[in-house]
């Protein structure tokens, strides 16, 4: 530890008037530049290294990508996505400039899948549904990251997530997120709610899954599943 505690000369506090003006101008310029910027936030994996390895044990690396509806297509795209979802985006978590963080999973030079999480309003605030998908958009893993629910334990159980394995957006297009019905009844109807008293959280999970699949289809899969959309 140095014993050299030479006092520094006292500097004027804050910028001088000229520099202040310059700073103000810089601030405005930053603002102007920012308008043209691309950005996002989102539902990030808590620990990407661990989660990627768990969901894709064969992976050798991953890349984090940021996307947003506002940047990709604005209100027009938002309307199209709402149509595919069968419900309007609403609340704090669903606006055109809300941000999505998507993980592209690699094995060597090959893309072997994707991970994406979406926020969804639950009974006690937001919940986060993450999907691990193969390159064709088929679910190979489902789990809640954030979840506050009376039935949290049951929803987090492996058995609940296993019910989603093998499903894709093709299946979820037949599921109406507003009524909670699948027409005609199929694989989504067979997903069992582990706690009838937590129907709202169960439906929130299904809506989050469908939204998740639509967003991945839009941003990563080149709308490969839009041919199944009957809207």
């Amino acid at each position: 530890m140095s014993q050299d505690h030479r006092p520094e000369p006292v500097r004027p506090r804050g910028p001088g008037p000229k520099k202040a003006l310059l700073l103000a101008a810089a601030g405005l310029a930053v603002f102007a530049a920012a308008v043209a910027l691309y950005a996002a936030v989102g539902c990030d994996l808590n620990d990407p290294d661990r989660d990627v390895k768990r969901l894709f044990p064969e992976s050798t690396g991953y890349k984090t990508l940021y996307v947003s509806i506002a940047k990709r297509g604005g209100e027009d795209l938002l309307r199209k996505i709402e149509a595919r979802l069968g419900d309007a985006f609403k609340g704090l978590f669903e606006t055109a400039d809300v941000p999505y963080t998507m993980y592209e999973i690699h094995k060597g030079a090959d893309v072997i899948g994707y991970i994406h999480g979406t926020n969804q309003k639950g009974t006690y605030g937001g919940l986060q549904v993450f999907l691990a998908l193969d390159p064709d958009g088929v679910i190979r893993g489902f789990y809640f990251q954030k979840l506050t629910s009376r039935a949290a334990k049951a929803f987090r159980a492996l058995a609940f997530g296993e019910q989603f394995r093998g499903l894709s957006l093709e299946d979820f297009y037949r599921y109406d997120v507003v009524t909670g019905q699948e027409d005609p009844p199929g694989p989504i109807s067979r997903i069992k709610n582990p706690d009838p008293g937590s129907e709202a959280d169960f439906r929130a999970a299904l809506r989050a899954t469908k939204k998740n699949l639509i967003l991945v289809d839009e941003f990563l899969l080149g709308n490969a599943h839009i041919k199944f959309f009957k809207g």
Partner: protein, 357 residues
């Protein structure tokens, strides 16, 4: 969504009383180069950065005003005039991710504000918060720059936008500090360590340092709980924002236990810290309780008692807060704060706008 500032508020206990006692104004640290923030920003956001898919950019605007029942006047800062947070300000938050062909390499984070400093000689105060590069290796993450030291609740509590002061803002740790750090997440939680300057917002190098380490069990956003154990040792400056309270650094050793628990719409955060500072006992007991109400938790009520011992004296603070999210970008906050160092109460109002662009 959001986070907090420095060792700055140490001063509320030591600083304010010593200044009243005629303690000469100590030396100042190196402020962030006033134009460096803008230059850095534009450097990062060159033509490549603007269009890259690895860029996050947020605009931050806040209006803050407080009524002090002791001073009987309205003041444009949340708690103390020399604190960096919260003041009326324009700022940005930038994250630039760097990736190779098949994997992420690292992240550059820059977060800065230009604040209105009502009591300052000059009215505009540049403030630099995040300014670090985080290198991602296969086993650990390594950061260098201005970031959070691995000590206590403040190392994980995002209070950059909040009115209620975190432990670091009460003087127990640093919200940001210059140095290096390393962290690794594990299935059970994670570990982190840092070696920083121990000078907080400004970089000062006069034999000062802070070595800190924290291990935690439980991932809050997944397990709804997290318990952390931290230890720290160093020779640190006690400072308020960019203004050090004491001319020379002091020895500090501390151990801290922190815990956060979420249950339905209730959340509780506590920290207990013990140690020694400048040959005197150091202690803190901190509790923040929150209740989220309305759809999507738009309304949040919080209460925060804290009691601490420093330089042979006990002090306490009581705060209560209300946050309402008008929409995804705009929040309104109100805080009533009282501490044993000041008479009366402060009624603080804040409008906070944070938008991704």
């Amino acid at each position: 969504m959001f986070d907090g500032s420095g060792l700055d508020r140490v001063v509320r206990t030591i600083g304010e009383s010593r200044r009243r006692g005629g303690c000469p104004r100590p030396e100042r640290g190196t402020r962030p180069n006033k134009l460096a923030i803008a230059v850095l920003l534009f450097g990062v956001l060159g033509p490549g950065g603007l269009l890259a898919q690895g860029t996050l950019f947020f605009l931050e605007l806040q209006a803050v005003g407080a009524y002090s029942t002791a001073a009987k006047k309205i003041e444009l800062f949340s708690l103390m005039p020399d604190d960096v947070m919260q003041k009326p300000s324009l700022g940005f938050d930038l994250v630039q991710r760097f990736s190779g062909k098949t994997r992420d390499i690292g992240v550059l984070a820059v977060q800065a504000r230009l604040a209105y400093d009502q009591e300052g000689e000059h009215k505009l105060e540049p403030q630099l918060y995040n300014a670090y590069f985080r290198l991602k290796t296969k086993s650990v993450n390594i950061w260098a720059g201005h970031n959070r030291p691995a000590l206590g609740l403040s190392s994980v509590l995002d209070s950059h936008a909040l009115l209620l002061p975190a432990p670091a803002m009460l003087g127990f740790g640093f919200d940001r500090d210059w140095g290096i750090g390393i962290d690794r997440d594990a299935a059970w939680g994670g570990i982190a360590a840092s070696l920083t300057a121990g000078s907080g917002m400004p970089l000062r190098l006069h034999g000062n340092y802070l070595a800190a380490a924290r291990a935690f069990k439980g991932v809050l956003a997944q397990d709804n709980y997290s318990v952390g154990l931290s230890v720290a040792h160093g020779r640190v400056y006690t400072a308020m924002g960019y203004e050090p309270v004491m001319a020379e650094p002091v020895d500090r050793t501390a151990a801290s236990l922190d815990a956060t628990y979420l249950w339905r719409n209730l959340e509780n955060r506590v920290e207990v810290l013990f140690g020694r500072e400048d040959d005197a006992g150091l202690a803190l007991a901190f509790w923040r309780a929150g209740l989220a109400l309305l759809k999507e938790g738009r309304l949040k009520l919080e209460a925060q008692p804290a009691v601490w011992r420093r330089a042979g004296a006990w002090d306490y603070a009581l705060g209560s807060g209300l946050t309402y999210l008008f929409n995804a970008d705009l929040a309104g906050r109100f805080m009533v704060f009282h501490d044993s160092q000041r008479r009366g109460a402060r009624l603080v109002v804040q409008l906070y706008y944070y938008k991704g662009l």
